[in-house]
């Protein structure tokens, strides 16, 4: 059992040091600066890599042992789930749309994290940091693969998952997570760590995984619960890497503090914007609700983040610049996001719907100051129209924020009746933003964000049609051409849940459908 009998002479810390940083050396046949070319240009000053505190000292032997155990358990569940048609056990076929969002928008991020950590796991001069990053790289590959395997079974029976990776590179709303992670991966190694390990993993990841997985549990999806919690057990190591790395940077040199503060400001806001999708999932897509986005935000961000930033104050770090706005947004963003997907559901490969009366009552109770005032009336209007055969599908492309790439759906702080518009001029062109913080991120690094592959603009530039499309041809339908480029199956992957193939199949499998099923 004990993997450490061999070396009782050394304690955990010393032994781990011998197993990691003891392996490296100062190169002399090639200059160190050429061997590690990337960890200086960001301006971060490291005087002594030996001060790096290793988070969770797992050597490879222990890593293999525990991870092997986890995988054995996980795949046993995935297998049993498939054999028993576990998909029939979910609360309602609407639930599956949360999984669609997950495989489309979250799973590819695990992949990026895998490659990004391989990069920094090669590039840091300090061996301890390198090993920690490499271990995370392999964990993230694990997450990509286990999620792909667990959701594979759903993909066989439901629409909206079959082209997830193709969509990730192309579909409008998926440019939000894609640009988020590419922004991190294209930053320097220290910024990457601050972005992913600290701002995302440490400050925000609980908001992604814990509600998602508790939601899965509540809605009868044991497969997802299992991969989620199993992945989350790696996440605790990653979070620890996040906080250790921040402390290390701050303790190494006071000049690092303003750089790190700016990264925290930037990445907190980038991460918060990304989580808009999770907020919507939590409040609208789980047939059996667990907790509201607002409650989750209060529990995991306000309480926990509050404690964290109080703790970091001794280094001169304050809470992220967008903290107050993010806290104010907790009453709004899930509703605003759901409305956006309801609008553009013709171009999104998952289903939306109008919440039932009971669900609206829950939303009123959870959002007493905002739901009835701003959001219920439009939902009820949409419902009337839909019942009259006039379901709203917005077919005109929206204005996007240049930084977060989300349609400009967010409202002014303190005034939910006004869309928040911000802009900047840079070298003869104007750029637009959804918020002060997205604007400030752009203003700091305009050379970066002028490259944004904004889906709406790309469509208008003619880059999102299948090869050989002639947009000047008679009767050219741009929306259909874009959906073809997306390789979406129109009428199966998109449109309202009401009347969808998913809805019909699920009812039939559960034996709730009229007799058409018999004709097969």
């Amino acid at each position: 059992m004990d993997t450490r009998v061999a070396s009782k002479k050394l304690g955990l810390k010393e032994r781990y040091a011998a197993m990691t940083r003891g392996l490296g050396w100062e190169t002399s046949y090639q200059p160190m600066d050429k061997v590690f070319p990337y960890d200086k240009y960001e301006g971060i000053k490291i005087h002594d890599w030996d001060k790096w505190q290793d988070p969770f000292r797992l050597t490879m032997d222990a890593y293999w042992k525990y991870q092997g155990e986890k995988e054995k358990k996980l795949y046993a569940v995935i297998e049993a789930f498939a054999q028993n048609n576990g998909q029939l056990g979910v609360a309602d076929a609407r639930y599956v749309n949360a999984l669609k969002l997950f495989i489309q928008g979250v799973t590819p991020l695990e992949y990026y994290a895998h490659r990004g950590f391989a990069h920094v796991g090669r590039q840091f001069t300090g061996e301890g940091a390198r090993v920690a990053a490499q271990m995370q790289s392999i964990d993230e590959l694990r997450h990509y693969q286990t999620e792909t395997h667990a959701i594979s079974h759903y993909n066989k029976y439901f629409n909206g998952m079959h082209h997830s990776n193709h969509w990730f590179d192309r579909v409008w709303y998926l440019s939000v997570p894609k640009s988020f992670f590419e922004d991190a991966c294209t930053g320097g190694p220290f910024e990457f760590l601050t972005a992913v390990s600290f701002s995302f993993e440490y400050v925000l990841t609980n908001l992604l995984f814990v509600p998602f997985m508790s939601g899965a549990a509540h809605n009868g999806d044991m497969s997802t619960v299992t991969f989620g919690f199993s992945a989350q057990s790696d996440e605790s190591r990653h979070m620890t890497l996040g906080i250790e790395c921040i402390k290390f940077l701050l303790e190494q040199d006071p000049d690092n503090v303003p750089i790190v503060q700016r990264w925290i400001d930037k990445w907190f806001w980038r991460g918060y914007r990304l989580l808009t999708l999770v907020a919507m999932m939590q409040d609208y897509m789980l047939p059996k609700r667990v907790m509201s986005w607002k409650e989750a935000w209060e529990m995991y961000a306000e309480e926990n983040g509050g404690a964290l930033f109080k703790d970091l104050a001794r280094y001169g770090i304050r809470e992220p610049a967008g903290w107050k706005q993010a806290c104010e947004g907790k009453d709004h963003i899930s509703h605003q996001a759901w409305n956006t997907f309801y609008n553009y559901n013709a171009a999104a490969p998952f289903h939306t719907w109008i919440p039932s009366d009971e669900e609206m009552a829950w939303l009123s109770e959870k959002y007493p100051t905002t739901f009835d005032k701003y959001y219920r009336p439009r939902l009820e209007f949409f419902r009337e129209q839909q019942q009259a055969g006039n379901r709203f599908y917005n077919k005109t492309l929206p204005m996007l924020c240049t930084t977060c790439q989300i349609p400009m759906l967010f409202t002014e702080e303190g005034d939910a009746s006004k869309i928040c518009y911000r802009d900047s001029d840079y070298k003869a062109y104007k750029y637009h933003f959804c918020s002060d913080h997205c604007k400030s991120i752009f203003d700091h690094e305009p050379e970066k964000y002028v490259q944004s592959w904004l889906p709406v603009h790309q469509i208008y530039q003619g880059h999102c049609f299948p090869d050989g499309t002639d947009p000047t041809a008679e009767g050219f339908d741009p929306l259909m051409a874009v959906l073809k480029y997306y390789e979406m199956e129109v009428g199966r992957d998109n449109f309202d849940f009401e009347g969808s193939e998913d809805q019909k199949n699920f009812a039939m499998w559960k034996g709730e459908a009229p007799a058409q099923g018999e004709q097969k």
């Binding site: 993997t3 061999a6 070396s7 002479k9 050394l10 011998a18 003891g22 392996l23 490296g24 050396w25 190169t27 002399s28 046949y29 090639q30 061997v35 990337y38 490879m60 032997d61 293999w64 042992k65 991870q67 092997g68 155990e69 995988e71 795949y75 590819p108 895998h114 490659r115 990069h119 796991g121 090669r122 061996e127 490499q134 790289s137 392999i138 590959l141 694990r142 990509y144 693969q145 792909t148 395997h149 594979s152 993909n155 066989k156 079959h162 997830s164 990776n165 193709h166 990730f168 590179d169 894609k178 590419e182 294209t186 930053g187 320097g188 190694p189 944004s452 592959w453 499998w509 097969k520």
Partner: protein, 331 residues
């Protein structure tokens, strides 16, 4: 019966993801390896250039001189995905753990002749650093290579390299004390026998082409080092002189090398099959790096095996040439 009814009605709409189907010839049942690997890497519409490498996209096949229309031909014959990799290694680790316990409980180290024990430490301790270099290089291959079929096993390999470095560390702490690690490091840094190898490893750190790095590290250097050290030295020399403990505590290494060589060869073969130009590069790289590795290992062969060292190394080179010939890369 109920089951019949279900079997009739619950028909899958599809077998696998489209990005997997594309590589396995249509929508059919896909293996876990295939779903874990094919189409995993984002391919187009990258937003920003890396601030650390503005001349390339984040994932960019142009970082290598190898040109392939489909990078997913570089399959891993072991079909490793995370679960199979980690469970395979966990089993091997169980065996290693049992070996460590056996060696310690039977006092096998104490029964070893001092000369053999010291020789083992002299040869093996500096190799912790060579394995660490291999770890860095495989992390590079994963980071800058193209296509998950190629890059994912490279990261497994990097972690295996780290595992090897750590097993050597444990061996050092079992056979000797913490000072022997430091002595090994000093030899790596300063002893003349090790400088050729250290120079080679440091030169490999600055190789920019991930595929050339793959050839240099995984094929040329490790293709000679493992047979020389774990075959020629540990199994055929140390073990025969009363150092069975050393063979037990390094049993992972030759087993791992044989296993992973199948992957290395398959990747070279598939890349070479892509074009004459690929084959030409592979011919150049394998030739260049095998020559360098052989030269760098020569003093270590002598250090480990004395007069016969050179012969053992030449044999290893011959075997490696034979592996290469099977990949279709004529030298």
């Amino acid at each position: 019966m109920n089951i019949d009814l279900q079997a009739r009605e619950i028909t899958p709409l599809r077998q696998t993801y489209a990005h997997v189907a594309k590589y396995i010839g249509g929508d059919k049942a896909a293996s876990r390896y295939q779903e874990a690997t094919f189409g995993a890497q984002p391919m187009v519409n990258f937003h920003y250039r890396p601030t650390w490498d503005p001349n390339h996209e984040l994932f960019d096949a142009g970082r290598s001189k190898i040109v392939l229309s489909d990078w997913y031909v570089l399959k891993d014959p072991r079909q490793f995905y995370y679960a199979t990799w980690t469970m395979t290694r966990a089993r091997q680790q169980d065996a290693m753990e049992a070996n460590f316990q056996f060696v310690e409980q039977r006092g096998m180290v104490g029964k070893m002749p001092d000369g053999v024990r010291e020789k083992a430490l002299t040869v093996l301790m500096p190799l912790r650093h060579a394995a660490w270099g291999a770890n860095m290089n495989n992390a590079s291959i994963c980071a800058y290579g193209y296509g998950t079929a190629f890059t994912a096993p490279a990261m497994f390999h990097a972690m295996d390299n780290l595992g090897v470095a750590q097993y050597l560390t444990r061996l050092g702490l079992t056979l000797g004390d913490p000072q022997c690690l430091e002595a090994g490091k000093q030899a790596w840094l300063n002893a003349p026998e090790w400088q050729g190898l250290r120079r080679l490893v440091e030169d490999s750190f600055v190789v920019q082409d991930p595929f050339e790095l793959f050839v240099a590290q995984n094929f040329a250097l490790d293709g000679l080092l493992y047979p020389l050290i774990y075959g020629g030295f540990v199994d055929d020399h140390v073990a025969l002189q009363g150092g069975t403990a050393v063979a037990m505590l390094t049993s992972f290494m030759p087993e791992w090398h044989d296993e992973s060589a199948r992957w290395v060869d398959a990747v070279i073969k598939a890349a070479g099959a892509g074009s004459d130009a690929n084959r030409a590069w592979l011919r150049d790289w394998t030739g260049h790096w095998m020559d360098r590795a052989q030269a760098a290992l020569s003093p270590i062969a002598r250090l480990a095996l004395g007069e016969t060292g050179e012969t053992v190394l030449s044999d290893a080179r011959e075997q490696l040439q034979a592996r290469l010939a099977k990949t279709g890369i004529a030298v």
